[in-house]
Subunit: 206 residues, 2 copies
Amino acid sequence: MTETSAAPTGTRAPGRPRSREAGAAILAAALELLAERRYIAKISVAAIAARAGVGKATIYRRWAAKEELFTDAVATLRPPLPALAGVSVRDDLVDLLAQVCAEGDSPLDRALGVLMLNDDHLELVVRIKRTVFGPRDEQMRAVLRRGARTGELRPGFPPQTVRHLLVGGALMARRSEGTRPPRDCAAELVDTLLDGLCAAPAADPG
Amino acid sequence: MTETSAAPTGTRAPGRPRSREAGAAILAAALELLAERRYIAKISVAAIAARAGVGKATIYRRWAAKEELFTDAVATLRPPLPALAGVSVRDDLVDLLAQVCAEGDSPLDRALGVLMLNDDHLELVVRIKRTVFGPRDEQMRAVLRRGARTGELRPGFPPQTVRHLLVGGALMARRSEGTRPPRDCAAELVDTLLDGLCAAPAADPG
């Protein structure tokens, strides 16, 4: 799905190498400018064209609007996650979160954070949530459903709250623990939530 | 501490009613402009003065730099949390998180999110973290230490990861569950983490 949206939307010879190169250059230029200027409102199609070394018409042949171009550009930045091993729910959750922890805190990551908070581009934010973050969210939902089914997870846990704890925890961790290996960070988040915080009940003497 | 930093830093008659009113008007004007323009770089001292109905000199008598003014302004927005009941660790954690969940997702909250992601103002971000968010973080650390001491929480839990899960979870929840009462939201986050996700071990037949 992301592949589709990252491809040129025009039908004009999408397979020609020069055309594909131009498409990739345009998307990369859009992200570079986003990292530098942080606001889409500050980035013109002309600026993207100049940075990519193409004419404005080349951009307009592929994308009807700047917002569509940026949705495709962000999709290249947040590719779908790799297929999960599917053996243990714990390991799959660690794999999913390690990706979030690994995404770091670069100028581009920050610009993306700013973009998602920006209510000038609500439609773009909704599209990015649906096409970029939606598939990830669905992947985590599926792992949690599997855990409920196999009995690896306790019955009746609230799945949305579990996703908020894990993804929110990973976002906080990546901002404050930049030097820690993402996998260690993810494993500690997952294991802490799996184990819970309550003290073990006193051993039953009966 | 926050009270101190929210007070005028100058020593010139801080107690005079007109002076206090002007100080409050200046801080409120700074926050209004931050919600509207989102970037401190886009807000001049002259614009703050005009919005507050004071002269620029009045601002410079109180704050040496725009960054100090904004630190004080943000401090008025994120006051220290109320004293906790101190009876149960669970209830204290819910009280702390309910505040985070309640802070909502207004233009000003978004502007603050943008500010914290903005590496043009690293010094300001560090100051805000220390003076505004630091005391909250310390409050949660203290509750977790108490839980370890009283045995309400299991031995050996990683406190920083617990804070990341809870605060990150609350930030995610407040963006996606805007209509849910903040206390319900906070209680579900805390209880889910306290209970953990692992299925209960099979009853020991011995």
